[in-house]
Symmetry: C2
Subunit: 323 residues, 2 copies
Amino acid sequence: MKQDLVIGVDLGGTNVNSAVVDDDGRISHRAWQSISGSRTAGEVIDRLVACVEMTMDSCGRDRVAGVGVGTPGLIIEDTGTVVYAPNVPEWVDLPLRSILHDRLGLPVTIENDANAAAIGEHWVGGAAGHANIVCITLGTGVGGAIIMNNEVWRGSNGAGGEIGHMTVVENGRMCGCGAPGCLEAYASATAIAGRARELLQGGRRSVLTEMAEGDLDRIDAAMIADAAHRGDETACEVMHRSATLLGTAVSSLTNLLNPELIVIGGGVIKAGDLIFDPIRAEVARRAYKWSASILRIVPAQLGDDAGIIGAARHFMLSRSSMP
Amino acid sequence: MKQDLVIGVDLGGTNVNSAVVDDDGRISHRAWQSISGSRTAGEVIDRLVACVEMTMDSCGRDRVAGVGVGTPGLIIEDTGTVVYAPNVPEWVDLPLRSILHDRLGLPVTIENDANAAAIGEHWVGGAAGHANIVCITLGTGVGGAIIMNNEVWRGSNGAGGEIGHMTVVENGRMCGCGAPGCLEAYASATAIAGRARELLQGGRRSVLTEMAEGDLDRIDAAMIADAAHRGDETACEVMHRSATLLGTAVSSLTNLLNPELIVIGGGVIKAGDLIFDPIRAEVARRAYKWSASILRIVPAQLGDDAGIIGAARHFMLSRSSMP
């Protein structure tokens, strides 16, 4: 039988999702597994394997050519090794590709999740047709990826593209990485929700209190986007501040890399112009006119599927570049 | 006769310098012309041509294969066009390559001066042997260049590498480019001297007043570096502040691009550890350990010759890549 299917896998903080991705980037045969509470390296791998097996069972195992995996953390792409992963502290220098290859009996590639999302958007999403792009995903953290001349820029030892850890406020909020003033400390979905909570705890009145039914822990970035659309002053202020600092980083990226396109993804982009207008205003204020003249700043198009699609595409590209 | 010589030209703010550069990056047959007061596009070109003619006269016109020119401004490298040049306001959409080709009767290439300096350092200077580098030159402005996989990154429309216009202080000093808080507004030689003057005018006592014989306009970055070496508190404070913000930008670059080497040039580097220690301290504080672990931050080695050598090398590389 023809092995014409590739499975893409997106390992997130709470779930692993997998699906078949066809040659046109279309998804089918979805499966998922919860990894909440899976703490050991082995448990997470077991869930990941189970998820892929579910997809294979439904699409037909014999038709699967291989598996592309996207995972948070620092990946050595050549060897498929996870140097470290923020979600799975035990994954240190883990030869994930060879482990999964042994478990699944199929060729496997491993890619960083932010790179996978960028590869997906570059293939069939918001960045299709553009050679030089920067992709920023606002989630638990701020994922970043740089594609130049249609290739992911990985850097000298695999750690390139950490846009979330550009400094945007010199002695600003402490970031999870240990440095002050990183973009991630202001513009991740987590940071946006955290800032709203701070303001409410400080006595601000806001429709968010009602939306969260009084439980501030229920406030997330999507809820803040909704509240901002309804004109809530606190929500608008929080969104505006995060978007402005995102715009500062985007301006620096524009002056540095002179990309054609900057793609911004994550649930927060539901806020629409409330996010994009302040970014564009900062670019107008800070970036070189010549660079800004060709730059487009656009929302990601693939949503939560970007990682699955990009991980599968990464596998396809790796296979086609094999000697 | 064998055409075995290439002439490199460095067009600066006040002078144009040219020299023969051999295949090993060695310089001979230097010439220079002042362009102070040369305001029109034509006058500057006349001086540039005169300078090259002087070098050709001394090395033997028949031996010259071609001329590589480095100039400030935005260059479209493919066509040898100067889109704009900060020093020569009349140079707008100027087809400099074809003008010089016609005047000199020789093949010519045009490169941005910061890129030329980086190409020189990458060829036979502080970055020799490294594929992924960032080059920062602290002069009148802050010149920046990015070399990845041994190629200058020019960006989508030729404006990449503007490291001097990364934002380092959110609502900071106004930069010459019109944006607030650019690195250039803090770390150029001009900015360093300007800050020292401000402090002295504000009543600070410093050995600088004596060194400048009371004429604050004579204070330049090299003098501040000297004063700092002598332990002058004001000079040390100014150097430390500029170097710290340079370190902030270097940290962001490290997280973004994960280079092997960052080369820092310009007269200011005479300050040695007074510049490099604060940069390294910021990198230790802000950059990802994995990226920082392979990064070296080194002084440029070619001094004022980097531009000439790099411009000549740019010509050599262009010629060798011709079909």
